[in-house]
């Protein structure tokens, strides 16, 4: 198993950052290479630009802790956990942490590499730049 963690310091309120993330269906707005997402109960199905369709299980959408957790349940993943934590540092200063753990390790790197870009996207949207 391999784990990767990326973080971004965002000049916006934690509520504003959480607002971007909390709706599971909104992921195509901020995750690079995801062209569509549909949500049915705790199942989210995303479609990638490459045509790959991946089912995910939403584990946690905690508005109080501002924590989103999910796992990919596609067969090529023996195990996966993705978490996004939104941490308030000050009124307009937020730390957003995107963590990925997966087995096989190579897949952690593929997902993790994209999450770094997703954080940049979240930052741009939150800061309105």
């Amino acid at each position: 198993m391999a784990s990767l963690r990326y973080e971004a310091r965002i000049a916006a309120s934690a509520d504003r950052v959480w607002q971007i993330i909390e709706d599971p269906a909104s992921i195509p707005n901020w995750f690079p290479g995801i062209v569509s997402a549909s949500v049915d109960g705790s199942t989210r199905t995303i479609e990638l630009k490459s045509g790959i369709v991946m089912p995910e299980e939403i584990l946690e959408v905690d508005a109080l802790q501002r924590r989103f957790a999910y796992r990919i349940v596609a067969p090529q993943y023996r195990w996966h956990l993705g978490t996004i934590d939104v941490i308030e540092l000050a009124e307009l200063d937020t730390l957003c942490v995107y963590s990925t753990s997966a087995e096989p390790s190579t897949l952690a790197l593929l997902i993790g590499g994209a999450t770094a870009e997703a954080l940049e996207s979240i930052k741009r949207i939150a800061e309105g730049t």
Binding site: P32, L48, T106, L107, L109, L110, G113, A114
Partner: protein
């Protein structure tokens, strides 16, 4: 006077696989002729011994620590300098046909342009995508891409799946279901990355690259200047050339490499004299990089497996040589040969059995670092054939292309144009070359800096997971051309070591505008 440039690269090809360089297994009459007519370099080094950083250096004329693609899986910045863009701006039609690999292959999110291009359809000269200052991408106004095998979204794989779907299953699967380099054995000896591929020769990627190159060249106006990078994916593993061609070289007749001691004790003694990660990889105790199968242990490799790998490698080299000959024939028929510069090289080497190892990694010795490089200048310039023994580097290619085109090398080029002779090399200060390695993958980081001079090969290991910063390698190439005796700790070479260390310090501290090191986003 127009100047046209055919830049030919292969992937992972050793210096000694070319006949003109003393190779005995593969027949390479086309390359041998180019070498006889032009300049053959005996000591060409890459800036990195893996694909992406090395290829980025060819395009940018910069070291990895400058262009920012510091290991495989780190994409070259989209706005990085590009010699193709420079030539495009000078009025050249520009094309890259075959393997690019400035961006990661493993890209499920489809984030990188190289992987998206095939979705736009295969462009033709009659129906190009569009024309812009930077061309389609990175200054190339035409790209048709291929890689090893038939997985993924690139043009060759797309073409084969659409036109010859029955041939797809015959290719060896380069990666396994975990997306690691496949350790599965094949062929007669069960060697890793060896397969018997029933694909027709004319459908194999070597001939496809040549076919598509000829198609693009044929469509150019006769008075058009052009720069064409023809980039063969072979002889990089997998070693699965068309089965119909396997009989060219009988593996049972292939001699073992000079640097492959048959006795395990002798191999292990050689490895033990080198920094610790050599033996650790050989024993299967350490996987420091992605470029070899993690499930394969080099110590298990047999002499027959080495023979079969080398035989199939030679078959692939012969097919490339014949494909190059076909392209040159088309250019001759077009009346372009007199005004044509041809440069042939590769991105890095391959162990092919040296020291009991296969594939590549953070190991800076000739197997991976000594590359074939041949420059046949345009005959109309009446070049003097030469052999250059002084060290040169692939970092010089971009400036060389600019010079051929009659333009000043762009200011971002770190390398000077290649020398035309030893006298030219001496006059212009070609005294040494630098090769870099940085990797950080799954908790293991390794960092090497190497300088090659006319006599010495010197490597320092910076602190990392496996090394504490005190280890190194120093080989006296005059006495030890196979790099078997590590003299890093030899006090009699202390002054030499200090001098070479200072050269690495100078390289580290050189003044140049550097890109921010890119982010690792994929294993390759």
């Amino acid at each position: 006077m127009p100047r046209r440039i055919l830049f030919i690269t292969t992937d992972q090809q050793r210096y000694d696989t070319v006949g003109a360089n003393g190779g005995q297994v593969a027949r390479t009459p086309t390359l041998d002729r180019l070498a006889a007519e032009g300049i053959r370099y005996e000591r060409c080094q890459p800036t990195s011994v893996v694909c992406m950083p090395s290829r980025a250096s060819m395009l940018t004329g910069q070291y990895p620590s400058t262009h920012g693609t510091w290991m495989n899986g780190v994409p070259l910045a989209v706005d990085a300098p590009s010699i193709a863009e420079h030539l495009h701006d000078a009025g050249y039609a520009t094309a890259l046909i075959g393997k690019a690999h400035f961006e990661p292959f493993l890209d499920p999110f489809g984030r990188f342009v190289e992987n998206a291009l095939a979705h736009l359809g295969i462009p033709t000269a009659d129906s190009p995508w569009f024309g812009g200052r930077r061309g389609v991408h990175r200054g190339f106004d035409h790209l048709e891409l291929a890689t090893h095998g038939v997985l993924g979204p690139l043009h060759y794989a797309t073409w084969l799946r659409q036109n010859h779907p029955e041939a797809v299953a015959g290719f060896y699967a380069v990666v396994d279901q975990d997306l690691n380099v496949n350790a599965a054995g094949g062929g007669d000896t069960d060697a890793p990355q060896v397969g018997v591929n029933p694909v027709a020769r004319e459908w194999y990627h070597t001939d496809w690259v040549a076919d598509r190159t000829i198609a693009w060249l044929t469509a150019q106006p006769v008075d058009q200047d052009w720069f064409c990078w023809m980039s063969f994916p072979d002889p990089h593993h997998p070693w699965d050339p068309p089965a119909s061609q396997r009989a060219r070289v009988n593996w049972r007749d292939v001699p073992l490499p000079a640097n492959y001691p048959e006795r395990a004790e002798e191999r292990e003694a050689l490895l033990d004299a080198k920094p610790r990660h050599w033996r650790a990889w050989y024993d299967g105790r350490l996987v420091s990089n992605y470029e070899a199968p993690p499930a394969w242990v080099p110590a298990t490799m047999t002499a027959d497996q080495v023979r079969e790998v080398n035989a199939l490698n030679a078959v692939e080299v012969e097919l490339i040589d014949e494909a190059i000959g076909r392209v040159l024939g088309a250019l001759l028929a077009r009346g372009w040969d007199d005004e044509l510069d041809v440069i042939f090289t590769t991105d890095h080497g391959e162990f092919q059995g040296d020291f009991g190892l296969l594939f590549k990694g953070p190991y800076h010795v000739d197997a991976l670092m000594r590359l074939p490089l041949i420059w046949r200048p345009a005959p109309v310039r009446e070049p003097t054939p030469a052999v250059v023994s002084e060290p040169v580097s692939l970092v010089s290619l971009a400036a060389t292309f600019a010079q051929i085109a009659g333009t000043a090398p762009p200011p971002w080029c770190e390398g000077a144009p290649l020398p035309l002779s030893n006298a030219d090399a001496a006059k212009r200060g070609f005294t040494d070359t630098i090769t870099e390695w940085d990797s950080a993958l799954f908790g293991v980081d390794v960092h090497l800096r190497t300088v090659l001079t006319g006599r010495y090969l010197y490597t320092e290991y910076r602190p990392g997971t496996v090394h504490d910063g005190s280890e190194g390698e120093l080989y006296d190439l005059a006495e030890d051309s196979r790099q078997r005796v590590n003299r890093f700790e030899d006090p009699s070479l202390g002054a030499i070591r200090d001098e070479l260390h200072q050269r690495l310090v100078s390289h580290h501290e050189r003044e140049i505008e550097r890109a921010k090191p890119g982010r690792l986003v994929a294993p390759v």
